[in-house]
Amino acid sequence: MATAKWPAIDKRTLIGKRIDRADGPVKAAGVARYSFDINRPGMLWAKLVVSPHARAELVSIDVSEAASMPGVKATWKDDSLLGKEVQYIGQIVAAVAAETEEIAQEAAGKVKAQYKPLAHQANDRDPTLSKDKPATRNTGNVDEAFAKADVKVEGEYGIPVITHCCLESHGQVAELRNDELHVWPSTQAVSSYADVSISDASGVPRNKIRVDCQYMGGGFGSKFNPGKWGVISSALAKQAGRPVKLMLDRDLELMIAGNRPSAFAKIKVGAMKDGTLTAMETEVWGTAGMGGGVPQQIPYVIDRIPNVRLTAKRIQTNRGPAAAWRAPNHPQSCFLTMSALADTAAALKMDELEFFLKAVQLSARAEVYSEELRIAADLIGYKQKAHLRGDPSGGSVKRGLGMSVHTWGGRGHPSECDVTINPDGSVEAKLGSQDLGTGNRTVIAIVVAETLGLPLEAVRIEIGRNAYPTSGGSGGSTTVGGVSTSSRFAATDALNALFAVVAPKMGVQPDALEANGGYIRQIDKPDNRISWRNACALLGVNSITKRGVNVPGESEKQGFISQGVGGVQMADVSVDIETGVATINEMVAVQDCGMIIDLKTAESQVYGSLIMGVAYALYEEAIYDLKTGRMLNADMEFYRLSGLKDVGKLKVHMMTSKAYDDRGIIGLGEPPVISPGAAIANAVANAVGVRVPHLPLTPDRVIAALQKGGII
């Protein structure tokens, strides 16, 4: 009988190998259809009307002129906002749906919204603007520790608001048909998407909402719910009696569809001459728009510093709202902590690697970090390249190394999966999960094929519909653990049901059988075997369908999944001190994530994270005009992402030894994106000899720091 337990490393045929992603070819060929590509017969286009004021009272909305325009088929307005405040530029107040995108755009311009402008506040740099009672944390005796410390190192650091900038913007196509609402959203959570908001908007009960998302172009934490765009398109589709497409334009995507909160901090570190950390005091502030909070996991990872004091102040700003952004709060906490620590190493004139090897002893996973630091150092050629802060060589281009460590949970989410074995030998797995571009489809296929002893091509994976068994949303690095476990359980049960049918014909008990290489065979007498096809034919006319259910707590106890990873990243950068231009030579990422299903897509996750990390370290920031409250770079021209030429050489090393493998599956989406900002900023400081305190490390900031430090 087959057991669900993960197969031993030497028994695996697919799991842990480097396997191409299943949907690579259709994406490369442009055949994969994203929400933006869905066109339904008779479909209308919707456009939004948004507040031009950062703060104002909404007095009235009049859609009548827009509604009477030829080609306009439906209008929507947010009466619940009347007499209330709009709180940021881009806040949606109305919408129109029309025969063409152009008509819709023109009609949106004819909606008359009246406002009484009010004073707004868009500044997130000044902690005195915080109106909340600060959050505080206090451990040990900080004052005493500072009094006794050999060195006290003070610095001010900052990481700005960045946006998710999903290449596929937010939105959906909505269609009411036969009392059902069909939606094609770009979402990270297929099974839970059909919520009360679109049910109310369309008047269709939740169990009659059909969600379909086969491909999606990035969410990073911002696409769990239908959002206002989902509600509006559903309402417009109902009103018009025709399908409606509502996808955000690029400017609104950047202004209102989510962002990562900023974090600025004054940090003081106390340490002994030998690098022992004794105290850390932090005042941190930042904005998440009108809601949200401030990142507070400081000190980050190195969290057993005995004496710690933290004050966190949230600044409310009239800006678009924050949303979970890959590893919420971690990149900020990491950047602030690791910058202050590297500055401490520099003040002690201590080798940074030696310093961090010591510092990670104050973390929950000292051994893992120590091992990873050594591997990363080898991979980047640390010994050959390292120098104390400030590249001593002449010339205008300075080179430096920097490092950072990070952590994340990543326990698999609840997931249900149906695996069906058909009499013709075909196999399919169905689950209401989604592939954000991570390789989820591929991972499920690997698990099911491995379980059934079949080649990858023999299994069909059906995901992306809420009609399938419920599976969790893809956030917090929870998917791989969830879907691998549920599909493993389902496939194992289905296989055992097949064994039960086949065993009598083979003259053995079911528990004497195994599936391997396209055969079902007797474990201790492999010659007694029957091909998969012939075995399935014995099913007659009845398929086998079994449901696998992942209950995270249970699966964790049984060792299928686990949580808590560590990663180390190092950066090798060059900085031209005459131009302030910082470039990446190389990034090295060393990462553990328990047992790996597909080494290739796992590595791809890390490559992608490094690319995203280079972007927010060197280029990305949401720039706001304080006077108008407008985001000045809500485009992809001055909101810069890294291109291929900008990312340097990327090296990824996954920790795959047995000790890691034995932990079971852990998610990987978040952790590798946490460290790049810190590692790159530390490398720049190591190169030029002074700290460039604020990300992104653009020429203006680098030059200012060099001038302040008397370097140029």
Binding site: Y619, I623, T628, L644, K645
Partner: protein
């Protein structure tokens, strides 16, 4: 984008006659890489768009003994592929390559690059060419990190976006302009750009119904080079650029021209830097001196003083690159 009438004339004369007398009523369409964005963002909403696509005489490069003539509709890609251009005007080739996007270089035209509108984010966000709200200059009070450090007495604080402009000025190019009824006129590249004083003006000497149709660059055997300070290596804008050209005999420079880009509402010839070059022996310290001279008279705004350092470096490196070129 607002609806507009679309015209595709086949001669310059016809094209001019389709253009209105005042700016904004009609717009000329070349490769569209700038104009279409402006139409979509409703930075401009013309009643008619006049495409130059079907005027065959505007395309192509003619190489003569003493000059190279470039039709305004020649794409940036074709410009840099031309062997005479590559041989004589490396400064120009470098300026185009910096744009860094194959799509823009393939679709964008030489005329379009010279006539493109400023990228000032206040302008592009609907606050008008000068970025004002009421009487307040949002540029002066707000984020002006990418704005002008020269020629910024106002009301214009944006920087000229064209990378070709500084190169063509340094190379002594002449631009040919056609008006109504087939009338043509010539202006030196240096005179082509101007700083608008009111919202009803634009950034060149073109009248609303005039078309830039040809660019002539003399072949004078000048050493020339462009240095651009860019951060991202793909499609992006430079922070500062410098083009230099000079004759070099026995290590001594003459006839020098130094023109800065992205520092002023127009390409910015630096008389002080040119002067520092003329009659001097070119070496690293002279190049640095020249870079320093190029910053003379700069008046940074609240957030762009860092550009002074970039000017120094760009000029210094352009001088050394030009001298080192074969």
């Amino acid at each position: 984008m607002k609806s507009f009438e679309y015209a595709i004339p086949s001669s310059l004369e016809e094209a001019s006659s389709l253009l209105a007398q005042s700016w904004g009523e009609t717009e000329i369409l070349a490769g569209g890489t700038d104009l279409v964005t402006s139409l979509k963002q409703q930075v401009t909403a013309p009643k008619r768009v006049v495409s130059l696509r079907n005027i065959s005489s505007l395309k192509g490069i003619t190489v003569q003994r003493q000059s190279v003539r470039i039709g305004a509709m020649t794409t940036l890609a074709d410009l840099t592929a031309n062997s005479a251009v590559k041989e004589h005007f490396p400064a120009l080739v470098k300026a185009v390559q910096g744009i860094g996007s194959q799509q823009i270089i393939s679709a964008g035209t030489v005329g379009g690059d010279l006539c493109q509108r400023p990228r000032c984010w206040y302008y592009r966000n609907g606050f008008g060419l000068f970025g004002k709200q009421g009487d307040t200059s949002l540029v002066l009070e707000g984020d002006n990190r990418y704005h002008a450090i020269f020629g910024n007495e106002g009301p214009a604080y944006f920087v000229s976006a064209s990378s070709l402009g500084p190169a063509l000025i340094a190379l002594g190019a002449t631009l040919k302009i056609s008006g109504t009824k087939g009338k043509t006129r010539e202006v030196a590249a240096r005179e082509f750009f101007r700083t608008p004083k009111s919202e009803s003006e634009r950034e060149t000497v073109l009248r609303p119904n005039e078309i830039l149709f040809e660019i002539t660059i003399p072949i004078r055997g000048l050493k020339n080079a462009t240095y651009e300070v860019r951060h991202r290596q793909g499609l992006d804008w430079p922070y500062v650029t410098a083009t230099v050209s000079f004759a070099l005999k026995g290590g001594t420079a003459s006839n020098a021209s130094v023109v800065l880009g992205h520092v002023a509402p127009v390409p910015w010839p630096s008389a002080a830097a040119s002067k520092a070059l003329n009659g001097a022996r070119i070496d690293a310290s002279l190049a640095a001196k020249c870079g320093q001279a190029a910053t003379e008279g700069a008046k940074p705004l609240s957030g762009n003083a860092y550009k002074l350092q970039l000017v120094k470096t760009a000029v210094k490196r352009a001088v050394l690159d030009a001298a080192a070129a074969a």
